[in-house]
Symmetry: C2
Subunit: 368 residues, 2 copies
């Protein structure tokens, strides 16, 4: 399982693993892939800096990357406190009532009142880039398409390539025109922000649209070696994976109170996801639970635009997380979660991807 991507990044397998957990990211890199750490959880750039120090000390010199969330156009943003004023009372009341109905307790009185997840804010994402470029990162990926051109240039000045997600061929071409080095073709079945076009159709469209100008990574529906083989058959240079890393042992090292989320994933089928705007304000695929169901009830308000929706629900997310109830989880996840049947070490997942890939190629050999 080798493509040009392996040379580019100095990795053994063309498997990129996105994860909010530094323990998972490090384990992916050590197992021969490229771990990409999601930065959106870091409100404080200093905290990200310390975590990247940890990565530098715990990846045995293997390459890794980071993932930011930054729209190409700078939104009118203001301070978080101003944004809070833009959230309608009706929405706050719905969230409060829903949490009560779902049996999600209040946080203990002495819990430090954490601000919403500010990583969605442009200024915060820029601080992530600043900090990350002080570390030996090999990739900056942007989960919201092309970042602003000056950010791309800043990365290039440090010799760091930039990847951007695309759900349509025309977006992919625009990203490459902006200077993006890798396109992540994000199919309908993917977790998180996703469009309407499924990987089987989207991937070759994007590969053909960008041609030799940028390698394309296949995202959406990849959790086995067969799917990596399918992605490479469709023209991808590598696989971008996400959901499968949520159900790993290493994930608990970063976020020990994620056992409810993991048992929900283990119990879920491929039908147990939903594409909805309730997480960020833009359509994103989430694990389907009583929380997502409540938002599709007739009395539920329409989700707010980005970044207001995430500010609205981020404290609810803290309460949901603390409640540790597998039936009430708020987590981006793709349709591939139907194949997750237990929590495993990262290295075992990688080994299975590799052996499944070899089997798929042997099967194809017999068709000649």
């Amino acid at each position: 399982m080798r493509t040009a991507l392996c040379e580019t990044f100095g990795i053994r397998y063309p498997i990129i693993g996105f994860t909010p957990s530094e323990h998972v990211a490090a384990a992916i890199s050590k197992a021969g892939g490229l771990g990409v750490l999601g930065c959106v959880r870091f409100n404080d750039a200093g905290e990200l800096d310390r975590v990247l120090d940890w990565m530098d000390a715990n990846t045995d010199g293997k390459p890794y990357g980071v993932d930011i969330v930054m729209p190409a156009k700078v939104p009118a943003e203001g301070a978080a406190v101003d944004l809070e004023k833009l959230i309608p009372e009706e929405h706050r009341a719905f969230v409060e009532r829903t949490l009560r109905e779902l049996g999600v307790p209040e946080l203990p009185e002495d819990t430090e009142e954490r601000a919403g997840v500010l990583g969605w804010l442009h200024s915060v994402a820029r601080s992530h880039v600043e900090v990350a470029l002080k570390h030996p990162i090999k990739l900056i990926a942007n989960a919201l398409g092309s970042p602003p051109v000056d950010v791309i240039n800043q990365a290039h000045e440090h010799g760091v390539p930039v990847a951007a997600l695309a759900g349509k061929a025309e977006h992919a071409v625009r990203h490459v025109d902006n200077g993006v080095d890798f396109v992540v073709a994000q199919g309908y079945e993917a977790g998180g922000h996703t469009g309407e076009i499924a990987s089987m159709v989207l991937l070759p469209e994007i590969v053909d649209a960008v041609g030799d100008r940028a390698p394309v990574l296949a995202a959406g529906g990849i959790g086995s070696g067969r799917q990596v083989a399918a992605a490479l058959a469709l023209g991808a240079s590598g696989a971008w994976t996400g959901s499968i890393w949520l159900a790993t042992e290493e994930y608990l090292q970063t976020m020990p109170d994620s056992t409810a989320m993991q048992s929900a994933l283990v119990g879920a089928t491929s039908s147990d996801t939903v594409r909805t705007r309730i997480y960020t304000g833009k359509p994103a695929r989430l694990l389907k639970t009583r929380w997502t169901q409540a938002w599709s009830a007739p009395d539920a308000p329409d989700p707010l635009p980005m970044p207001l929706q995430n500010l609205l629900v981020s404290k609810a997310h803290n309460r949901i997380h603390a409640a540790n109830d597998p039936t009430v989880v708020s987590m981006p996840a793709g349709q591939i979660i139907g194949r997750i049947d237990r929590v495993r070490p990262v290295a075992e997942v990688i080994a299975d991807l590799v052996s499944g890939y070899e089997e798929a190629l042997s099967r194809l050999d017999k068709t000649r």
Copy 2:
């Protein structure tokens, strides 16, 4: 490009091509695939009989199959004239108003008033099976999942295997339990009736769920050899294709007044489809045109259940067809239509599938 399917059917390539056109079906079979003729358009079993006579005379002895539309449970049906009474006046008025607003003319006075498409009715589908089994067909496929067990047995008594569409692994297992011989795994991106799970995830799920009990055909998103290679990498025994045959020269031999539909397909991108209940009452993916858009307007009524919805719109379909306007088309089509850039002969499409497949395998060879 050979799998066990080639032996089973006596075909050169494991490519099954579904089409409502006998000219296309015959051309697919003659080019080395298995042409499967859709029967739903035949209200009169005698007409189907004559068309299958034509197939027998024009396929050079190559194998072919038929496709029926038959729910597993016999619905309370009654005569078409009774069903017409169940259609609300509001719905009729909406259709009439919409056609007027879209500039679709009335049919000329002397047009023979054709009944709705009755192929959706259970009794009519049964008559299709009766007639088809008098011909040397090699496959009966059912576009609505498992047909009733007695119909499966009837086919088996004639030595004819049965295929059934499935959009979930549990449905596939149920079909095989009923005696179905081939499962068509119909991904989200497919044209016509389709579920929510995309091919990349659905296909290996179904392959693993049915195991050795039935070969699985991949449907949804397949229009190039790369996609056939991806499907086989994911574990399929062959490819089930549909949309790509709509834009063939042979299609016009059966339905000469389809030039507007074909130019709409040539102009469409992969974003120009919509999954909606307006065609049959069940979710089906259609080409997005001003007709489908009208049904998603706020003033549009909810579509009726099967079989009423198709009865409601079938006369509208006749008018739309006669109007020959590429902006007002009612046609099931999958996301793969984004890759259709011209109308071609069937043999050229098959040749491209084969050469694209070889290229994909050569590319995979380089990853070892």
